[in-house]
C-alpha cells in the first residue's frame, strides 16, 4: 500500500507523509441491536490543491468518514460504550487526529479543516444572523475585535458572490435563498483559510442551475486557497466536475479507488458500473429506462458475508462460490487503481468492455 500513500493522482514516491493521510480508519457505533460498522477499514491520501470525491449510496459510510475526520463523533468511553469507536490513523499535516485529545482536535476544527454541510437551512442557526455566525467562526480561532471580524465576514460574503454583502451580512438565514445560503455556508467554512475542506453533499438541497454555480464557486475557491477538498456525494455528476481522485464506498468499505479519469473510463467494480448506469445523461440516445442497481444498500449491523455487494451483484456465479464466504481484498489492478472484487482484473475488464461500456 505504501506506493499508494499519496493518493492515485499524486503518487510521486517521495518519503514524506501526504498532507492528509488516512489509513485503516474504522468507525463503529455500539447499539442495542449490535455494532454498526459504519466505516470498516478505509485508507486514502490527499494533497493540498487536490480533490477527492467519495461516492456511495446513503449508509455507505461516506458521511461518517467525513465527520470522523473532523472529530465530530461523540467518542465511546473506555468500555467502548456511548459513542463511536474509532481506530486507525488520520494524519493531517503531520498530526494524528485519532490519538489527539478532543481539545486539540477542536482547535483544528474550523481553522485547519472545515466542513460545508448538506442542507444550509438546517445547518445554520435560525436565531443568529448570517454575519454573526461567520464572525463567530472567525473569532474562535483569531483574536480580533468584532469590527475586524465583521469586515472579514463581509469580504468572504463578497468572495462567494453574495450581492450587497454590506447589508446582507445582517440578514438571517431564512431571508436568504437556497443557493445564497449555501454560498454563505461556504463563506463560513472558508473564513479561517482551512487547508482541508470537506463538502458533504454540498449541492443536494439545491436546484440544478444553482448546483452548477456552487460547484464552479468551490472549484475557484479551492484554487485560490490551495486547500485539499473532499467532496462527499451520491451524485457521480458532481464528482465528475471537480474530483481528481474518486473513492467508491459500499457497506463501509472502499470498493474502488483511483483517479477520476480511471474510475470514469475504466471502472472495474460491478457496483461502480451500477452507479454509472443509474446516472442520467443527455449526451446519449435515450434508452428505454435508466438501469438502477437492484436490491437495497446493506445493513451495517449485519453486513452480508463475504463480499458485501454479493446479494446485488449479477456476477456472483463467476467467483467460484467465494462471493459469500470470502471478503475480497482491495487490490491494485494497475498503478493507482484499486478494486475490491473476486473477479480477476482481466475478466472485469472484459465484462466492462463487452457488456457495460455500451450501456453507459
Amino acid at each position: 500500500m505504501t506506493a499508494d500513500r499519496r493518493g492515485p493522482t499524486s503518487a510521486n514516491g517521495s518519503g514524506e507523509r501526504p498532507f492528509l493521510d488516512v489509513s485503516d480508519l474504522r468507525v463503529q457505533f455500539p447499539t442495542d441491536d449490535g455494532v454498526v460498522k459504519s466505516v470498516d477499514g478505509i485508507s486514502f491520501a490527499l494533497e493540498r490543491g487536490k480533490t477527492l470525491g467519495i461516492v456511495g449510496e446513503s449508509g455507505s459510510g461516506k458521511s461518517v468518514t467525513s465527520l470522523s475526520l473532523l472529530g465530530l463523533h461523540r467518542r465511546a468511553d473506555r468500555k467502548g460504550r456511548g459513542g463511536a469507536r474509532i481506530s486507525g490513523e488520520i494524519w493531517l499535516d503531520g498530526q494524528d487526529l485519532v490519538t489527539a485529545s478532543p481539545e486539540e482536535v477542536r482547535r483544528l476544527r474550523g481553522e485547519k479543516m472545515a466542513m460545508i454541510f448538506q442542507d444550509p437551512l438546517s445547518a445554520m442557526h435560525p436565531f443568529y444572523t448570517v454575519g454573526a455566525q461567520i464572525i463567530e467562526a472567525y473569532r474562535v480561532h483569531n483574536k480580533v475585535s468584532k469590527s475586524v471580524a465583521r469586515k472579514r465576514a463581509i469580504e468572504l460574503l463578497e468572495l462567494v458572490g453574495i450581492p450587497q454583502p454590506n447589508t446582507r451580512v445582517d440578514d438571517f438565514p431564512h431571508q436568504f435563498s437556497g443557493g445564497m445560503r449555501q454560498r454563505a455556508m461556504i463563506a463560513m467554512a472558508l473564513v479561517c483559510n482551512p487547508r482541508l475542506l470537506i463538502a458533504d453533499e454540498p449541492t443536494t438541497a439545491l436546484d440544478v442551475t444553482v448546483q452548477a454555480q456552487i460547484l464552479d464557486l468551490m472549484r475557484d475557491l479551492q484554487r485560490e486557497f490551495d486547500s485539499a477538498l473532499i467532496l462527499i456525494t451520491h451524485d457521480l455528476g458532481v464528482v465528475a466536475e471537480l474530483a481528481d481522485d474518486i473513492m467508491v464506498m459500499y457497506g463501509g468499505k472502499a470498493v474502488e479507488y483511483g483517479t477520476a479519469e480511471t474510475v470514469f473510463r475504466q471502472p472495474e467494480h460491478p457496483y461502480t458500473w451500477g452507479l454509472l448506469g443509474s446516472m442520467p445523461r443527455i449526451d446519449r440516445e435515450v434508452q428505454e429506462r435508466l438501469s438502477p442497481i437492484r436490491g437495497n444498500p446493506p445493513s451495517l449491523i449485519n453486513v452480508p458475508s463475504g463480499c458485501a455487494f454479493h446479494p446485488r451483484c449479477p456476477y456472483t456465479a463467476e467467483t467460484g462460490g467465494r462471493s459469500d464466504t470470502e471478503i475480497p481484498l482491495l487490490a491494485a489492478t494497475s498503478p493507482g487503481h484499486l478494486v475490491r472484487c473476486h473477479l480477476g482484473p482481466a475478466r472485469r475488464q472484459e465484462i466492462f468492455a463487452e457488456q457495460i461500456r455500451e450501456t453507459l
Binding site: F117, A123, F127
Partner: protein, 336 residues
C-alpha cells in the same frame, strides 16, 4: 408589530367580556335554573328572620330584579365608569375599575384584590425564579449527560416532584424545618416585603419551595426533551464544526434554541400562578388572590367571585399576548 399588539388588545377585551358573561351566567343565572329564586338567594345576605323589605333591598342591590342582559350591561358599565353603592346606611363611591361591592365583608372588590395581590405576587415571583432556574438547569444537565447517574437522579426527582402535591410536600418540609428544628418560620407567618425584607424572605422559603418543586420537575422534563431535540439539530453540528468550545455550543447555540418554547410555557404558567396560587396560599394560610377566591366561594360572595375570576383571566390573556410578542423577539423567523 404595533398593529399586532393593538389588534390583540381588542381581542383581549372581547375575551374578557365573554369571560364576564360566562361567570355571570354561572354565578347569577344558573342557581335560578336549579330552583333558586332571587328571594332565596338574597336571604343568605340578611340577618335571621328578615323582613320582606330587607330581602327586597338585597335583591335590588344585587340587581336580581332586573333582566339578565341589563344586569350584564350594568356590570360592564360599572367597571368602566364606576358607580355608587348603598350598603343601607351610607353611600359608597366605587371608582372605575369598579368590580362591585362585597356585602359579605363590606369591602369593595377591586381594592380587596389589590391589597391581596402583593402576597400572591411574592409567591409567584420567587417561585417562578426558582422553578425556571432549577428546572432549566437540571433539564440541561440531564440532556447534556444523557443516561448518566445525574440524568437518572434528576429524572427520578422530577417524577417525585410531579407526583407530590403541595399539601403533601408542605407538611413534609415544614415538620422538620419549621417545627422540629425551627430553621424556618412556621406556615402562616407572613410579613410584607416592605416592612421587613429579611423576615419576608424567610417566610417565603417554604411556600416558594413547595410551589416550585412540582413545576421545576415539569420544566426539567421539558428542558431535557427540548435540549435532546436541539442537540441533534444540524446547526449544533455546524457550531461544533466551527471549533467552538462545548460550553459555547451548549449555551449559545443549543440552549438558545431550546429555551424559546420553554419561555412561552413559563409565561402562561406564571400568569396562572399570579391569578392565585390556591393550594400554596391555603396550605400556608397566606391571604393572596387564591385564598380570596376560595373564601369568597365558601361565603357565596358573588361580586368577589366574579371579580377574582375576571382578574385571573385578565392576567392569563395578557400574559398570552406578552408571550407572543416575546416569541417574535426571540425567533427572527416569526413575523407579527
Amino acid at each position: 408589530m404595533l398593529t399586532f399588539i393593538v389588534r390583540r388588545l381588542f381581542a383581549v377585551v372581547g375575551l374578557l367580556l365573554v369571560v364576564a358573561l360566562v361567570t355571570m351566567v354561572i354565578f347569577y343565572e344558573m342557581p335560578q335554573w336549579g330552583g333558586q329564586t332571587p328571594a332565596t338567594m338574597a336571604v343568605q345576605y340578611v340577618g335571621k328572620q328578615p323582613s320582606p323589605a330587607a330581602i327586597q333591598g338585597v335583591i335590588h342591590r344585587f340587581g336580581f330584579d332586573r333582566s339578565f342582559p341589563v344586569q350584564y350591561i350594568d356590570y360592564i358599565r360599572t367597571i368602566v365608569t364606576g358607580t355608587t353603592f348603598s350598603d343601607g346606611t351610607q353611600d359608597i363611591a366605587c371608582h372605575a375599575p369598579c368590580l362591585g361591592y362585597s356585602f359579605r365583608n363590606y369591602q369593595q372588590v377591586w381594592p380587596t384584590i389589590l391589597s391581596d395581590l402583593p402576597v400572591t405576587l411574592s409567591i409567584a415571583v420567587g417561585a417562578g425564579v426558582l422553578w425556571l432556574f432549577f428546572g432549566v438547569a437540571s433539564g440541561l444537565a440531564s440532556a447534556v449527560r444523557k443516561g448518566s447517574l445525574l440524568d437518572r437522579a434528576s429524572m427520578v426527582t422530577a417524577l417525585l416532584g410531579i407526583s407530590l402535591p403541595v399539601y403533601f410536600l408542605a407538611p413534609l418540609l415544614s415538620l422538620p424545618l419549621a417545627y422540629r428544628w425551627s430553621i424556618l418560620p412556621a406556615p402562616g407567618s407572613y410579613v410584607g416585603i416592605l416592612s421587613d425584607p429579611g423576615q419576608w424572605f424567610l417566610d417565603m422559603i417554604l411556600p416558594w419551595t413547595c410551589l416550585a418543586f412540582g413545576l421545576a420537575a415539569l420544566y426539567t422534563r421539558l428542558t431535557r426533551a427540548g435540549m435532546l431535540d436541539v442537540l441533534s439539530e444540524d446547526f449544533v453540528r455546524t457550531a461544533r464544526a466551527k471549533g467552538l468550545s462545548e460550553r459555547r455550543v451548549i449555551f449559545k447555540h443549543a440552549l438558545r434554541a431550546a429555551l424559546t418554547p420553554i419561555i412561552t410555557i413559563f409565561g402562561m404558567d406564571f400568569a396562572t400562578v399570579l391569578g392565585g396560587a390556591v393550594l400554596v396560599e391555603i396550605t400556608f394560610s397566606m391571604k393572596g388572590i387564591g385564598f380570596l377566591a376560595i373564601t369568597s366561594i365558601q361565603n357565596g360572595d358573588f361580586p368577589m367571585m366574579m371579580g377574582v375570576t375576571l382578574f385571573a383571566a385578565a392576567f392569563i390573556v395578557l400574559a398570552n399576548l406578552l408571550v407572543d410578542v416575546l416569541y417574535a423577539v426571540a425567533d427572527p423567523r416569526v413575523r407579527l
